[in-house]
């Protein structure tokens, strides 16, 4: 008996487009996140390349000032919200249940909703390109530039609504992974036995649920200011303070930085032991350093505002908290180095990227400490030095860490190895290209080149360095081309990986690659931090598998994508409403009703359909 609550039959086919659209399997959702993030990575990279073409020479006239504004706005917004965050989500979706010995996340349909809301929000924001309204206000959208008086097109509305809708998906994912990690651990998987990546994901999930609300409210204020003429940021006559936006944005924005970097730190903490053939040095200090970073991350937001005139006391306080963050970060770096010390180092591609992460991230961290010194920051504010700094942490840090994770877990995800020679070529091209691109920016910044200018005149000593930067960007693009070739070839022709190609220690390597849809035939019992290594060392044979039936897993559902569509179209309706009130209200109300219908369909739909109709793989 099919428990068919919805209007359409429950989609149960295991393959095909419909299966992907209705999947609730955390591994498939992880792959969807990964592919989407990679697509936006190429898009955001293309935007960067256009900027570097324009800036390669002085007084260039290839791209107009307005287009340039849109390019740096969308490059930043894309890389933060549509690349690094979903790439992190790809890893934690795919890996967390495998690492803690669970069969799925706590709320599989909510997980699907997170992905679809993220995708539709990202598409809505980028759709603005075709409406000739590409956002052009910078990725942090400072007031009062965002006022309707100054940005009259609805580009800013696309930006606000896109971020708002993506934020819903992010929050839902945050709740889901807090519950999953706290509640779904296999017997014996105590908190202090969890792989560091799981710990960092738990911390990121908490950061998300506490840091996103201020952004959501700030965006709501901005939307109300623009659509309904309220006075939060813009109406100077009413006494509004545009600095309020900066406070609210950075109360979100600085924890966000740790949302971007902690997953990479987790990946590296799991890659290093595998390729050093020894346990992570100072596991508990690395974990607690992550927790401390997250706490301190809420107390440093005003270091983004040291030049706004908060006064010496506030500046000193925020400089102090910012410097304090260097302590837990340094703790992590020394622990990673101590993990390498005395190990049998195997320089496979994931290891190279992990080492690249440590060194490049450290450089970014050091220039960050320079910004904590208020007089220095006053000089650096809005120059290329800042651009250099945050690319060292977000590219040299996050992207290098994510690449380490990609090469490390690709065999688990696809069942095939990636090419080592192409991987090493990718690594060296990327490392060289990265440093050619971003190292000269430090000097350009100190020489006084402001960020976000669309061109510059000759004779200021900036030409050679800018050409070098643009040349480096081309090398990065080449390295990505090598990566694409590597992925495309390895997916089809890569060497068969087997369960545990790296001889790694954590639970995800105890099951086949790619894992069966139910992950674990028998839920494992965990007795140490490195279960697979310890069993080998003690020569403990794994217990014989008891006879079991294939576990019943949650069935696919189309409600997540329906609700995500309704949420996004309510946002779309607001955009239509600006031009045609009736049409807009019709869209908003009909999509609101569809969303309500979706919620009731979701609530009363059983998680699993009856065994009799369950499709076996």
């Amino acid at each position: 008996m099919v428990a068919n609550i919805g209007t359409l039959p429950r989609p149960l086919a295991p393959t095909g487009v419909w299966a992907w659209m209705t999947t609730v399997d955390h591994k498939k959702i992880g792959v969807l996140y990964g592919v989407t993030a990679f697509f936006f990575f190429l898009l955001g990279g293309l935007e960067a390349l256009f900027m570097r073409v324009q800036l390669a020479t002085a007084d260039a006239d290839i791209i107009s000032a307005g287009t340039f504004n849109s390019l740096f706005t969308m490059h930043g917004t894309t890389m933060v919200f549509m690349v690094v965050m979903p790439a992190g989500a790809a890893f934690f979706n795919f890996l967390i249940p495998l690492m803690i010995g669970a069969r799925d996340v706590a709320f599989p349909r909510l997980n699907a909703l997170s992905y679809w809301v993220f995708l539709f929000g990202a598409l809505l924001m980028n759709f603005s390109f075709f409406m000739n309204a590409f956002p052009d206000i910078g990725w942090f959208g400072y007031a009062p530039l965002t006022a309707i008086e100054y940005t009259t097109s609805n580009a800013t509305d696309y930006w606000v609504l896109g971020l708002q809708i993506m934020g819903i998906g992010t929050l839902a994912a945050g709740f889901n992974f807090v519950v999953t990690i706290l509640n779904l651990r296999a017997p014996g998987m105590t908190l202090m036995r969890m792989p560091v990546f799981v710990w960092m994901t738990l911390i990121v999930a908490f950061l998300i649920i506490f840091a996103f609300p201020p952004l959501t409210i700030a965006l709501t204020f901005l939307l109300f200011d623009r659509l309904f003429d309220t006075n939060f940021f813009l109406n100077i006559g009413a006494g509004s303070d545009p600095l309020l936006w900066q406070h609210l944005f950075w109360v979100f924005g600085h924890p966000e930085v740790y949302i971007l970097i902690l997953p990479a730190m987790g990946i590296v903490s799991d890659v290093l032991p595998t390729f050093s053939r020894k346990p992570l040095f100072g596991y508990s200090t690395i974990v607690f350093a992550g927790v401390v970073i997250a706490f301190l991350g809420f107390g440093v937001w005003a270091h983004h505002m040291l030049t706004t005139g908060l006064g010496p006391w506030a500046n000193a306080a925020f400089a102090g908290t910012t410097m304090t963050i260097a302590i837990p970060t340094g703790v992590k770096i020394f622990n990673w180095l101590a993990t390498l010390y005395g190990g049998q180092l195997h320089f496979k591609t994931p290891m190279l990227f992990a080492l690249g992460f440590i060194s490049m991230f450290m450089l970014g961290g050091l220039s960050g400490m320079m910004h904590a010194v208020v007089p220095v920051d006053t000089q650096h504010q809005d120059t290329y030095f800042v651009v250099a700094h945050f690319h060292y942490v977000l590219f040299g840090g996050s992207i290098f860490g994510l690449m380490a994770g990609l090469y490390y877990w690709f065999p688990k995800m696809t069942g095939r190895m990636m090419s080592e020679s192409l991987g090493k070529l990718h690594f060296w091209l990327m490392l060289i290209g990265f440093n050619l691109t971003f190292m000269p920016m430090h000097i350009l910044g100190v020489l006084g080149m402001p960020r976000r200018i669309y061109t510059y005149s000759e004779g200021q000593g900036w030409e050679a360095l800018n050409l070098l930067v643009s040349f480096g960007a081309v090398i990065i693009a080449l390295s990505i081309l090598v990566l694409i070739i590597n992925i495309a070839r390895s997916v089809r022709q890569g060497e068969i990986a087997g369960d545990n190609p790296w001889d790694a220690a954590t639970l995800e390597w105890s099951i086949p690659s790619p894992p069966p849809h139910y992950n674990f035939a028998v839920v494992p019992t965990v007795r140490s931090q490195y279960p697979l290594w310890d069993e080998e060392a003690n020569a403990v044979a794994p217990p014989p598998l008891p006879a079991h039936e294939e576990p019943q897993m949650p069935s696919p559902s189309y409600w997540p994508i329906v609700i995500a569509f309704a949420i996004t179209m309510v946002g779309g309706g607001l955009l239509v409403w600006q031009a045609h009130a009736i049409a807009g209200l019709t869209i908003i109300s009909s999509m609101g009703l569809l969303g309500m219908r979706g919620i009731y369909g979701w609530v009363f739909e059983p998680l699993e359909v009856e065994e009799a109709v369950h499709v076996h793989h």
């Binding site: 669970a102 649920i209 949650p554």
Partner: protein, 214 residues
Amino acid sequence: MQYLTDVSAHRTSTGLNNRKLLMWAFLGSDVLFFGTLIATHLVYRGKSVSGPAEAILDIPVTSVSTFVLLMSSLAMVLALAAVQKGDISRGRFWLAATALLGMGFIGFQMFEFTEFAHEGLTPRTNLFGSTFLIMTGFHGAHVTVGILWLWSLFFASFNGKVRQDNSLDVEIAGLYWHFVDIVWIVIFGVVYLIGAYGVEETVHAGVGTLSALG
């Protein structure tokens, strides 16, 4: 939820139910939503340059509506207690009572907003109008979601979907409802009382009330 584990259908690592933990995580996050709204209101307190501001607040009327909302929390407790004892018809009665009291509160809020509009206060008027009306409107939206939830449980109870063995459904709705109530207590204290009387007088009155009580 067999997929979670082979060991036992409802085992979780912390012993807490997944959905209950999800609700707690959501409420933790919601604290920051309201915190941001209330903080914005306080930052802009007394900075409106024109139009009606704090003096417009009607403390006696709002005290009544606050009492109505508090009583809805009592009804919610009684609803859960009845369902946990398996007395579904009594539980149904108190669910309806909770929802009706919530609707009463929303009625007061609509009256308040209409009155303010008549006196010339809208979200466009000044800083007070923007921050106060968006904040309390956001709270009203929370109450409205709660009312829809309660009526959904009420009608589901006629189909045998509210039972003693899944009283957790009612408990989670109750967690949400009580939280929304608590937020209102904060708004009533920090925004209404301090807004109308100032910090010193509010604290003074509070201390006076406490010492009169004993």
